[in-house]
Symmetry: C2
């Protein structure tokens, strides 16, 4: 078993201070005192010890807020690093982040098909080992690895039941820790998306937020009581298989009418290819793969193509129906549309809002805002790193 904390501090407060500063970027002693719920003198003391140990640096004074100007602190960027891995069905992206959230190497992307691929984990591990090899003596500074991946992930047990099998009894997390020699945290990709919104996006400082991951499938990341929520065994947010439609399309899961059979980019892409083949007139041309088709549809829709907009509007309305159910159960303050579908968020938001008006109790619909994510493509890598830093801040002694 890998010892979880790589750097041994003498008090828990120091772990929390570093974690907070990582998420804040910069902060004054007062900010930290307030956010950690500890007194200023106590925070000052630990802060100074961390400055002496060169983990934290003073960044000078900020403008006054109507009184004595606050001294600003930040993390020493190259004192610690985080390994961050974002895995999807086709590609895996790997980054190494410093304490100022900068990538210290260009992000590496490898093609790694997860489905029915027994060697996926071995290839991933090998690639990671190669990349880590470049770190030299800085390797010891890596405090952990955060992994975002699709599938049924049980975070507590460190297992992914769908992909990246270890082909043995060993859990995926233990396997990775054994090969990478660092603490590893794995999490479902939709949850990581939600974490990104919580730490760097629109969910900051909010309590109850649902992040819809619109892509090849449809996922849900839940922020409940200001924290990521994963349910009892880690499968909370299985939006894709709730029954939503009257057309009884058979789903992979064996049931009929699942949201996934009706409202994903995959469904839209396949449907467009069929309909165009059958003579449907549009600015859209058939392209060679459904993946590229979905991108073409989104591009066309953003250019104003009526057919593409129609397809996405229909998808949006069905997603809205599912969100209506979600709102009845969870009563969140904000719904964020994220994932690849966020590209056409502006087009989706109207039919979604319409579905909410139609299927929600008015009081509930009124109290819930719907917004499109502003986070870019690197968000999932930053959030996978956040996974590590969050645990770092919870390190007990």
């Amino acid at each position: 078993m890998i010892a979880r904390p790589t750097i041994p501090f003498t008090t828990q407060l120091k772990y929390r201070l570093i974690s907070q500063l990582y998420f804040f970027g910069t902060a004054s002693c007062n900010d930290l005192s307030e956010s950690l719920g500890k007194s200023v003198p106590h925070v000052t003391k630990s802060l100074y010890e961390l400055i002496d140990a060169d983990y934290i640096v003073e960044k000078g004074y900020a403008p006054s807020n109507g009184g004595r100007p606050p001294l600003i602190y930040a993390l020493q960027p190259d004192r610690m690093y985080i390994l961050s891995v974002s895995i999807d069905q086709l590609y895996t992206r790997i980054g190494l982040l410093d304490m100022s959230n900068q990538f210290i190497f260009p992000i590496e992307t490898i093609e790694l098909r997860l489905l029915n691929n027994k060697d996926a984990l071995a290839i991933l591990t090998k690639t990671l080992t190669r990349i880590l090899g470049r770190m030299g003596k800085d390797r010891k500074k890596i405090i952990g690895g955060g992994f975002s991946m699709p599938g049924f992930v049980n975070t507590r047990m460190g297992i992914n039941f769908t992909y990246l099998s270890t082909n043995s009894k060993e859990s995926l997390r233990d396997y990775l820790e054994r090969h990478l020699h660092m603490p590893v945290y794995i999490e479902n990709d939709s949850s990581v998306l939600a974490l990104a919104e919580l730490k760097a996006g629109m969910a900051q400082n909010l309590q109850d937020v649902m992040v819809i991951d619109i892509g090849w499938g449809i996922g849900l990341g839940m922020i409940v009581k200001g924290e990521l929520f994963r349910g009892h065994t880690g499968y909370a947010g299985e939006l894709s298989h709730i029954p939503i439609s009257e057309s009884n399309t058979l789903c992979e899961c064996g049931k009929r009418g699942c949201l996934e059979t009706e409202a994903t980019l995959r469904v839209v892409a396949h449907r467009a290819m069929e309909e165009i083949k059958a003579g449907r007139i549009s600015s859209l041309k058939i392209v060679d793969s459904p993946e590229k088709m979905s991108e073409a549809i989104m591009a066309a829709a953003n250019q104003g193509d009526q057919y593409a907009i129609g397809l996405l509007t229909e998808m949006g309305f069905k997603i809205g129906k599912a969100i209506a159910i979600l709102i009845h159960i969870v009563n969140p303050e904000l719904i964020i549309l994220g994932g690849r579908g966020a590209e056409v968020g502006k087009i989706l938001i109207a039919p979604i809002q319409q579905a909410l008006n139609q299927y929600c109790i008015p009081r509930l619909a009124e109290d819930t805002r719907v917004k499109v994510s502003q986070l870019g493509h690197d968000a999932s890598l930053l959030a996978a790193a956040a996974l590590v830093m969050e645990k770092f801040g919870q390190t007990a002694l």
Copy 2:
């Protein structure tokens, strides 16, 4: 504004100790130390001070657990009291509890129709004032009032948007505090039912539990991360208006196909009355009110009447469909069937389980147990009191 803590202790730990002892009934110093996450000597010290102040008493030694036998502590029963009020559409029950969870007067029940009743709150307040009048000098010992009630309740704002209007800008909570001179906590009845399970029933020590309130309507109380969950504005758990059916019965809320139009005791009672009138043969006879009809149906079902069982089985299956959706979203470890429908829980559990098998992803269905509540009729009064004690334990200084 009413000062929330009636009794001023010098440390927060003392409030938490009293709260814990209330819920535990009796406990050893070690039990308390563990459950509060504080060291034994620290707990001991506060415990002794509370014994000196006569809030807590020693109850002698418990049998050894393999070592030195632990000293057992309990609350002094008549040092503090809690006012507990459980309100439903027709009847309101009022109790006064001591610190050993005993009613110090027989529970009073008054008939109080909530619907379209402008005077409901005035009548309630008058009754409560009369009952409190009997307390004499013990009145000061009441540390608060807990109110369980139907409707859209926003606990943070202290408002019930559906019933018991104050006919003014003042919140219901403020109104009650002003008239009763004590801290008041109001909560939705389904949530209180969940709290009862959390504190005294099957949800004890569990993290994520859904309590289905099967009655005249259908409600949901949610335990998330080991605590009552109410969502952003307090309306989480609105199970009754999620779309579930293909038969498009119009619901009061204006939508079609809501669970409430298909699977409540009210629906079952009305349907039985119509069908029997139309000549349906059964051991059931028509009674004069739907309320009594529903009780007759449940009694007949428990006696083995096939028609009654059929009606309830159909209701159960539809409730199961809704629970399937719930499980996909929340991934709870336990579903508890509560409310008046728990009387026929044994009959409902089979069709519910069947619906889960049919509509849930297998992994999710496997990880979720379904049980029938064991709590009796007084549970909601005890839980309303728990509302008060829970806040008492959170009293800061």
